[in-house]
């Protein structure tokens, strides 16, 4: 019992250290950016406007994604994820991963925490990779703009090829990850499952 408690406080300490480190990196990056823009004032307008626009987008999307992830973590059971996206989910799992990825949901970096939540709950690696790829590349609004600018033939053949290769890539990466999925093991042993990321 005592060792368990000790482990838990160790884990909390480690997490706090990581958070402090991340914020320190942010402070350094910000300082360097300010310095760089002081040296090259003619770049300042583009840099700040771009960063500000992405910041606004992030602030508008991230809280919603975090809430979905939080609800998913607490309400959806491991058994359900394993059933629909786990080892035995087969074609249905692949189609489900593509469907969830293709919803209009924002930039790819938003998907990483969701992918981790699925992964920890027992989704198979191939479906995680397929989910991320679909999120990046098979988005519904994106396909419509591609159709408009590059035509049906271009869009349809790129979409078909992408789906095929993404599934193959998912299965292949799963094979390569099978032997040493250290990252996942660490976060599972650390009991971080209920701590989100």
């Amino acid at each position: 019992m005592n060792t368990k408690v000790a482990q838990k406080t160790d884990e909390a300490k480690k997490m706090r250290r990581e958070i402090i480190r991340d914020y320190a990196i942010f402070a350094i990056a910000l300082a360097l950016a300010v310095l760089l823009l002081l040296i090259f004032p003619e770049r300042k307008a583009t840099a700040t406007i771009t960063a500000w626009n992405y910041f606004l987008e992030m602030i508008a999307i991230m809280p919603a994604v975090m809430i979905i992830m939080g609800l998913f973590n607490v309400f959806v059971s491991k058994e359900q994820v394993v059933k629909y996206l786990g080892k035995t989910s087969g074609i249905k799992g692949i189609l489900l991963a593509i469907f969830f990825g293709a919803l209009p949901t924002g930039p790819l970096y938003i998907a990483f925490p969701l992918a981790l939540a699925l992964w920890k709950k027992g989704a198979r690696v191939s479906n995680i990779v397929i989910f991320l790829s679909a999120w990046a590349c098979i988005k519904i609004p994106q396909e419509l703009v591609e159709l408009q600018f590059l035509g049906l033939k271009f869009m349809a053949s790129r979409l078909t090829l992408t789906v095929v290769f993404v599934i193959l890539m998912g299965l292949f990466i799963e094979k390569l990850m099978a032997h040493s999925d250290q990252h996942l093991k660490e976060s599972q042993e650390g009991g971080k499952i209920n701590e989100g990321i």
């Binding site: 770049r43 992405y54 910041f55 919603a64 990046a136």
Partner: protein, 160 residues
């Protein structure tokens, strides 16, 4: 972009309402978890946003893409795929850029490679990906995405 913002927030709201009706205590737990996760990932995302801002200011995408589009053959495909992997352009504005590339004489294969690496490979967002999913998964996903982008491009060059 606005429809995306509305869609995802509406989705979160609907889930939240359902959860609240079903189990208030668990919903509260979920929200605390969401808040904690948000502040954990925030600094890494802010670093990426700073990188993107600097990047677009110092390396204007239109010029890079134009240069890459003029290179011919397999080298051209490779260079423009690399440009797509490194550049960070919102996917919806990348299509007009790709169309102008085609008009200015770039091959179908190189344009296909550009769009595919642009969306699937993220060098700028790699810090967040490694932070969340681990080094191995992040590098494998980006590496293989780059390879399949080239394959997709080559096949498209043949069939179109």
């Amino acid at each position: 972009m606005n429809t995306t913002i509305i869609f995802i927030n509406l989705l979160a709201l609907v889930f939240l309402l359902f959860a609240f009706v079903k189990d208030r205590k668990k919903t509260k737990q979920s929200l605390i978890l969401a808040l904690k996760s948000f502040f954990r990932i925030l600094p890494t995302v802010l670093v990426v946003i700073i990188l993107i801002g600097l990047f677009l200011a110092f390396v204007p995408p239109a010029e890079i893409v134009k240069y890459a589009g003029e290179q011919a053959g397999f080298t051209g495909i490779l260079i423009i795929a690399l440009a797509g992997a490194i550049l960070y352009i919102p996917s919806l504005t990348s299509f007009p850029l790709a169309a102008s590339l085609l008009r200015s004489g770039a091959s179908i294969a190189s344009v296909a490679a550009f769009i595919t690496t642009l969306t699937m490979v993220g060098v700028v967002t790699l810090p967040v990906e490694i932070r969340v999913l681990g080094k191995r998964m992040a590098l494998l996903r980006n590496g293989f995405s780059f390879i399949i982008a080239i394959l997709i491009a080559l096949i498209m060059g043949v069939i179109l």
